[in-house]
Symmetry: C2
Subunit: 193 residues, 2 copies
């Protein structure tokens, strides 16, 4: 199963992913490709696949990416081969990407499960972003606007999970995994019944 | 949310329904209408709505039933009004009916969630049916054949739940309820976001 996790910056996606990977041994995080140079302590093949712009554009041209996007001066994308590989081994794959990317994935892999994580209200998200104190007010405003834009596309997602308390959100997502594993197309055990 | 629970005789549907209703306060069992005469201790409006054949056929003609079936000499069916009523109050409704009925429901209410409960294998179901000792061997054979026929239609259901241990099956079904409550069409909380 391919699980796509999206949600605005400040919704807690990163922490939720870490907790999910810890609690779900069958789940593995997909590593993205990027043309951005590695930061200190980032490892190629672990944090990202670091590739040249030429290589990235070749991957785009040869349909080697499940989705991609240009953010500022750099490309980011999901290499199809690693995902196919994991899925064919029976491993579930977790992707943390934005809504546009999620919808690209759903077109290529209709069986993918799209999850959107969202704080209870716009005000709570704003407070969380301000609480981080790392972003300038204009940056916070930009992030909130982006969040509103994503929320408007939410009806095309499979699930929307409220992140009020982290533990609750993770538990709801684990319920969704349990449910999705019971889909007749995935629950192979009964086919020899 | 309308939840349809199906599965072969001997799959544990009855017990699972009772446990679900106990653990899920928002869930309410739908009461079927039937032309079969009440048995001792059965209460009209609680166990069934007991109606005449004339009244039942009128309900059929006036599209007052979400689904119906003739079993031996009697009719059984799901009155639409009680279900609509509960759903409009925000109560989730549980229906325990066969696959044919479930598929009829899905046509009228596409939003309904169809669940099929099945023991891990045909052999285990056979053993459970024999263990009840209440049925004649021909009756057991008939039930197994019917189960196989239902399993072949299973791909049209939303979920298939393995009933190995009852507690596990109930817990999986509760996960499915949690997941389905996160569908963008049902999780209204984010719409004023």
């Amino acid at each position: 199963m391919l699980l796509v996790l999206s949600g605005p910056s400040g919704a807690g996606k990163g922490t939720i992913c870490r907790m999910l990977l810890q609690e779900e041994p069958r789940l593995q995080l997909s590593v993205s490709a990027t043309t951005r140079p590695p930061r200190a302590r980032e490892v190629d093949g672990v944090d990202y696949f670091f590739v040249s712009r030429e290589r990235f554009e070749q991957m785009m041209a040869q349909d080697e990416l499940l989705e991609w996007a240009g953010v500022y001066d750099y490309y980011y994308g999901t290499p199809r081969a690693a995902v196919d590989d994991a899925l064919s081994r029976g491993t579930d794959v977790l992707l943390e990407i934005d809504v546009q990317g999620g919808l690209q994935i759903k077109e290529k892999i209709p069986d993918a499960v799209l999850l959107f994580v969202l704080p209870p209200s716009r005000e709570i998200l704003a407070a969380r972003l301000r609480g981080r104190a790392s972003d300038a007010p204009e940056e916070i405003a930009r992030r909130l606007q982006w969040a509103e834009r994503e929320v408007r596309m939410l009806s095309r997602y499979d699930y929307v999970v409220q992140n009020d308390r982290l533990e609750d959100a993770v538990s709801v997502i684990r319920s969704i995994l349990t449910a999705e594993r019971c889909r007749p197309g995935r629950a192979r055990w009964y086919q020899g019944w």
